[in-house]
């Protein structure tokens, strides 16, 4: 918080406090899943906010936070180039294999 601001103005706070994306691991062995985002002044506060906002009902055993601005995203305009070419390559799906009956989960 560098510049003075009206503490009551939520917009001012949003401008000042960076956005963090929150990832929660539900139980050991599972991967961290994106659950939402929040504002915080630093990474430590982001962890505390994430604990208070996203694990109130025992949703998790581990939290990751990352500055939203540190995420590089694909451009929706590139969707054709990036994702179309996979559409006609159904042989990449493992649907042509016979699964032995003994295998319960794959």
């Amino acid at each position: 918080m560098n510049a003075p601001m009206d503490p009551k103005s939520a917009a001012a706070v949003s401008r000042e406090w960076p956005l963090y994306e929150v990832f929660i691991r539900a139980r050991g062995g599972l991967d961290h899943k994106h659950v939402g985002s929040l504002h915080a002044t630093d990474a430590r506060m982001a962890i505390e906010h994430a604990r208070d906002l996203y694990t109130r009902r025992q949703e998790g055993v581990s939290i990751w936070v990352v500055r939203s601005s540190d995420i590089t995203a694909s451009d929706p305009q590139d969707a054709d180039a990036l994702f179309e070419p996979a559409r006609d390559k159904i042989y990449r799906h493992p649907t042509f294999y016979d699964i032995p009956d003994e295998v319960k989960t794959l």
Partner: protein
């Protein structure tokens, strides 16, 4: 502030000392939880609204366990609800610090740091209490309190070591609230009785641990520790500041106006 207010009728404290001690622990949680609850809908940002409400809910949860136990030991059939909603001001045994008004966010944080560090030092020792029930409640509460102190102290460091404005505001909150800390460690007959029976720790030990942890936090927050001052509040034996009455009128209104009302 004009010192202790007068109770409306002669206070009726439970005769059993263990019951009184559980009430003393529980009333601190109940009144502080109620105070923090006032922030709901008013915190500077939504994230802090939830943060403060979570702490408040933990405290109300601790109060429920302790008041229930106080009622059981007393053996007069009073439930946690009877004790929370039907006692009068002079029968509450919370320290005066926790009934002080919220002030600005920084002042609430200062109050929270002072009391979180106290509760943590106390609960850590109560986990080995000779009273099994109090030990079990402390074992549950100590984890919650560790988080409370982490939350409040990280805010105090940010505000104290923040801008000149935030620094001077939390420093003056600290000066205002500091004189209420002496009472926390002021041993009376009940404290001595509990310590002698191994139910509670010596408050001198609690003070030493509190003092170390507070010095560490204040140092990191670049805040100056105020001088200890004389005080005339003894909320823990029922002599409160004028603020408690207002809290109770809010908290008890529904049960007073509609006795026995349920959800």
């Amino acid at each position: 502030m004009s010192g202790a207010a007068v109770a409306a009728r002669a206070p009726a404290m439970p005769a059993d000392p263990v019951s009184r001690y559980a009430l003393r622990l529980g009333d601190l949680c109940l009144i502080l939880g109620q105070r923090l609850g006032e922030w709901v809908g008013h915190a500077p940002v939504l994230e802090e609204d939830l943060g403060l409400a979570n702490v408040a809910l933990d405290l109300i949860g601790q109060a429920r366990l302790l008041l229930t136990y106080a009622g059981e030991v007393e053996g007069a059939g009073r439930t946690e609800d009877d004790l929370a909603f039907l006692r009068e001001q002079g029968e509450f045994m919370n320290p005066t610090l926790v009934e002080q008004p919220n002030g600005d966010f920084g002042e609430s944080i200062v109050r929270q740091v002072l009391i979180d560090a106290f509760q943590l030092a106390l609960y850590e020792r109560l986990t080995s209490s000779a009273d099994g029930r109090i030990a079990a409640i402390a074992a549950k509460a100590v984890k919650e309190t560790r988080y409370h102190l982490r939350y409040s102290s990280s805010w105090l460091v940010r505000l104290g070591d923040g801008t000149p404005e935030s620094h001077s505001r939390v420093q003056s909150s600290l000066e205002r609230l500091w004189r209420f800390t002496g009472e926390l460690f002021d041993e009376d007959d009940l404290d001595r009785d509990m310590a002698a029976r191994g139910i509670a720790p010596s408050l001198a030990d609690v003070r030493a641990a509190w003092s170390t942890s507070i010095d560490e936090i204040l140092g990191e927050a670049t805040l100056a520790r105020p001088k200890d001052l004389p005080y005339s509040w003894y909320g823990k034996r029922g002599e409160h500041s004028e603020h408690l009455g207002y809290i109770l009128s809010d908290m008890q209104y529904l049960q007073r106006a509609h006795p026995g009302a349920r959800w």
